[in-house]
């Protein structure tokens, strides 16, 4: 894009047919610096004018911007889902807990000595005891089967220890070894380490990531095509103006620039629409997840688009708008040849 602009700065050649005579802005006391400044002022003017162009054809422009925005929303939303699932993954992986379910019919003393013994392990950072009664209470509040459980004659839930390993033993492999060691304690019926579902979650995340890339590429290509087509229609509708400009000596670049800027505007506005819709979707998912998340983690919050990601979204969107317009403009403006009859 820079090269494209620079080509137009230095492309301001002077008169070709009458080069020996005083002709053209170059020879009329305009120094290169001034020319450079005017070039950017003119560009700025064209950028603003192209915004007005969008205003002049509101329906078509709004349609294009909406299509662009919604097309960007899908990959952006998938990205947010992947990002959040990964963050859960990281959180839970590092704080892997081991649940040890105790044998039936242990006395208070036996349990107390087990607590003392296991707490003394080097590998154990923290031990939390959940008695049979605690277990059933917790199950009642969380499961919603409160009423039904009261019909049971005896408490079917075992007492358990929830063990948090020290930092060194939190990794999957060492945690597994610790589990095997703990299971040899005579009070322990069996232990459980949630490694399997973590592996499964990882697989799902990987698959999601792959699909984000595929979906994103397909949608981004379609966005370029849509912008290209809108710009093509705009070129066709301004055919007469383009012909006149060519007749009075406008270069291809001069004619192309406003259309390219229009594409850039489409991109920026589409990106902003995507940003708004993504935030809405996040808010929506958040409210839907409040209950579920309340069950597992205290305050699980979906992480929306960060500022850097917002920047990326806008950059990608404006790049797509630019390339769609650039491609279209290069194909279609050359085709228009002026005629004088």
């Amino acid at each position: 894009m820079m090269a494209y602009l620079l080509k137009t700065v230095w492309g301001c050649k002077m008169s070709i047919l009458f080069s020996s005579e005083q002709k053209g802005a170059t020879n009329r006391g305009v120094n290169p610096l001034q020319r450079f400044v005017y070039f950017w002022i003119n560009n700025l003017r064209q950028i603003v004018t192209s915004l007005g162009e969008i205003w002049r054809t509101p329906v078509a422009s709004v349609m294009t911007i909406l299509v662009m925005g919604l097309s960007l929303t899908l990959p952006a939303t998938l990205h947010i889902i992947v990002k959040n699932v990964q963050s859960i993954n990281v959180e839970w992986d590092s704080a892997s807990e081991i649940s040890l379910f105790l044998n039936e019919g242990l006395s208070e003393q036996q349990i107390a000595s087990a607590i003392r013994r296991i707490s003394a392990y080097d590998e154990v950072d923290e031990l939390r005891y959940i008695s049979k009664n605690d277990a059933i209470e917790e199950f009642k509040t969380l499961s919603g089967f409160g009423q039904a459980l009261s019909y049971l004659e005896s408490n079917p839930l075992p007492a358990s220890f929830v063990i948090t390993p020290t930092a060194r033993f939190r990794q999957a492999e060492s945690a597994k070894n610790l589990l095997l060691k703990l299971q040899k304690e005579r009070e322990v019926d069996f232990g459980k380490l949630d490694i399997d579902w973590l592996t499964r979650l990882n697989a799902i995340v990987n698959m999601l990531q792959e699909s984000v890339i595929t979906v994103a590429i397909l949608l981004l290509v379609s966005v370029v095509l849509i912008i290209g087509n809108t710009i093509r229609l705009s070129i066709i509708s301004r055919r007469e103006e383009i012909e006149v400009m060519k007749l009075v000596g406008a270069t291809e670049a001069f004619i192309q620039r406003p259309f390219v800027y229009t594409g850039l505007w489409y991109g920026l506005m589409g990106g902003f629409i995507a940003f708004i819709v993504v935030n809405f979707v996040v808010w929506w998912m958040q409210s839907a997840l409040v209950e579920i998340s309340g069950l597992y983690v205290n305050d699980f919050e979906i992480e929306g688009l960060s500022f850097a990601e917002f920047g990326w979204l806008m950059a990608i969107a404006s790049f797509l708008g630019f390339s769609g317009a650039f491609w279209s403009v290069h194909r279609h403006i050359k085709e228009i040849e002026p005629n004088i009859d």
Binding site: L17, E240, K246, L247, V248, I340
Partner: protein, 228 residues
Amino acid sequence: MIRFEQVSKTYPGGFRALEKVSFHLERGEMAFLTGHSGAGKSTLLKLISMIERPSIGNVFINDKNLNLITPNQVPYARRDIGMIFQNHRLLQEHTVFDNVALPLVIEGYTQGEIAKRVHAALDKVGLLDKAKCFPKILSGGEQQRVGIARAVVNKPPLLLADEPTGNLDPELSKEIINVFEQFNDVGVSVLIATHDLGLIARMRYRTLSLKQGRMTNDGLSAENGLGM
């Protein structure tokens, strides 16, 4: 200023629009180009404005061979030729001022310079008070004069006009030709294509006549013209 050397133009499909046309329009000269429709007037103008290229032969402007001008240079070369069209070709959704300013905007003049030159050009064609109007509220003659102002605003040494009086009554045609004469008086070369033989007869200028692509007459339409 304009020199044709044995120029032929054959369009794809075999239609021969011009055949071995040669003439030389001197610097500062004003001439008419005439002939029936289809005689090759438009083709001749298109060759000068580089819309078409000759099939055989060379076209020179200011002794520069147009065959040597690359497509990228064409826009810059066109800035030295002021062109006027039968249907004005004004941009209807822009004001008279903006229409006239277009060639200057393209060349990258400053705002102040643009305003100065546009006002000067509009003053010359007598339309200074119409600068803020849109073309559609102007009469046919006025629109044509806006077209002339646009063609002369960057002071090109050469003016080409394609049927500039085609849609105008004799009185207005005379007025338009007078405007061209004023520019000719200050040294601008002018070539006017027209089939309005009555208009040519009233003027005493060199007339180039085309018939089926051949130059059939190159001389004066009146007895005591400037000579060639």
